[in-house]
Amino acid sequence: MTDAAVRGGLVRRLPYLLPLALFIALAGYFWIGLGKDPHAVPSPLIDKPVSEFILAPLEGRDRGFTSADLIGQVSLVNVFGSWCVACRIEHPFLVTLKREGVVPVFGIDWREKDRQAGPRWLAEHGDPYTLVGDDPESRAAIAFGVTGAPETFVVDARGIIRYKHVGPVTADVWEDTLGPIVRRLQAEK
């Protein structure tokens, strides 16, 4: 058989391979889709200014925080709750950030049912926050489009949300994503 004949045979058989090719394409598509986290909803707030909010202080403290506190320096805004299991994972790392003075972290204590729970939790595990606000009715949480805790936002010095991280901030997450972003924004000033 000549080369041309072989090629001719292949071309004639091509339509029969089409379903297989389609199947492989679809399977690949679904395979990728299955690996995605349905809770990682893309945020429309990236590169938008933080909308205004005022958070009351935790019980026993005299200062909460407002959106105006975020202006003037690069900061992290961390949504947590004493009820949130994954928040325990990131907490020691946030305390380290505070100790080393890398970047101020503002805490939104989200949906505590008991007004003592947040302060007690911070007393027990350490307080990594520059300022903490109490958000029992999701005011600030909805302003940030929060869907679950923990979530952490990088806000630049002009008060614009630059990045959203869903899930605990561990040393690895800091090294790979948050750290470089924060350093780049701090250099921007």
Partner: protein
Amino acid sequence: MRRLLPVLALVGTVLKGPALAVQPSEVLADPTMEARAREIGRELRCLVCQNQSIDDSDADLARDLRVMVRERLTAGDSDRQVIDYIVSRYGDFVLMKPPVKPETWALWFGPAAIGGAGLLALVLYFRRRGGAGSGGAAPLSAAEEERIARMLEDRRG
């Protein structure tokens, strides 16, 4: 009657439909305003249990969103403004029914397009085969006609 009870309970469960997540304390005094809030609530997705609307969901965040919807309505926002506010925070994903726009054309029209293409392929395929069939089958020869006649004869005989 005792045997009938479980059956009645089952029928009751089915007819009743899903339980309402909206708590009495959330309900607005103004019935028209409340009806608008319910309508909006049915269009917004609960971000925690993603296949329920905030109107159906018992999640805390869904409750807070319901309360926020009612507050904004009471403050004089239109239905559109309330929905736009929530969408500006959570993105189109929060809408139970995704909006029709260039990014979602594949979603809205993709299935119909693929179905249409399949149908077209099917029509073309059968038309081509049908065309080949009508002209392709050779008419019976005289010998064959004779054989058939004989076979039929034998049967009857």
